[in-house]
Symmetry: C2
Subunit: 112 residues, 2 copies
Amino acid sequence: MPTDPLSATFAALADPTRRAILARLSMGETTVTELAAPFEMSLPAVTKHLKVLQRAGLVSQGRQAQWRPCKLTPEPLREATDWLEQYRQQWEQRLDRLESYLRELQARESGQ
Amino acid sequence: MPTDPLSATFAALADPTRRAILARLSMGETTVTELAAPFEMSLPAVTKHLKVLQRAGLVSQGRQAQWRPCKLTPEPLREATDWLEQYRQQWEQRLDRLESYLRELQARESGQ
DNA sequence: TTATTATTTTACCTAAAGGTTAAATAATGC
DNA sequence: GCATTATTTAACCTTTAGGTAAAATAATAA
């Protein structure tokens, strides 16, 4: 029961700690300890989050003395974005309708 | 422990059944039974998936006689896409590098 | 070799996810 | 009221998620 890549990507993104790790890595490679610093959880917990990100293909780890520098491998995000894009038109239409409704409301207000 | 909206959205998308439900709903409103038809799981299982989608704000349900027509409410997808967009440049750069590497490989092949 | 630093693995816990079947609810039609 | 159709809820089960503390590994430094 290997979960499909797209599900793995979305699942990896469904946690604020992991999204914060990705955001940090988008500014450049760094070590596990430094990645863990902002969080109140233990180091093993961060290691686990990193595993989830690695299984999703979003992070890879190297070796440099006793450090394991982590870096972002953002390719899987493309597939995720591609999937989401198919709905863009629909939500834009919705937001347009909402906007014009609000405009109409305002027009009525002013008219009174 | 209410999970944040973005996490709820990504978690909702991290399941192929739920993504298929959204894809179906993007073609128009329909009933729970019809939504469930393509899947091998029980109706209560589909109800549960719909609950996840509703909690994420991606689906809303109406009432029409004994049916509960479901429709897509895609707004939360915008926030998800917006979050992903911040990485677009990075993955595009990566893909560009990959592409030029492959081009170079091919050039060498031909040169031999 | 021994100590130190960085990281992971193991063993464990609790809660949530995703599924089941059987029973409950809702609305309609006779 | 009673049967039918659509859907949900309840009770349960098994697996996974996310966390912990303590022990194991890996590389360096003294």
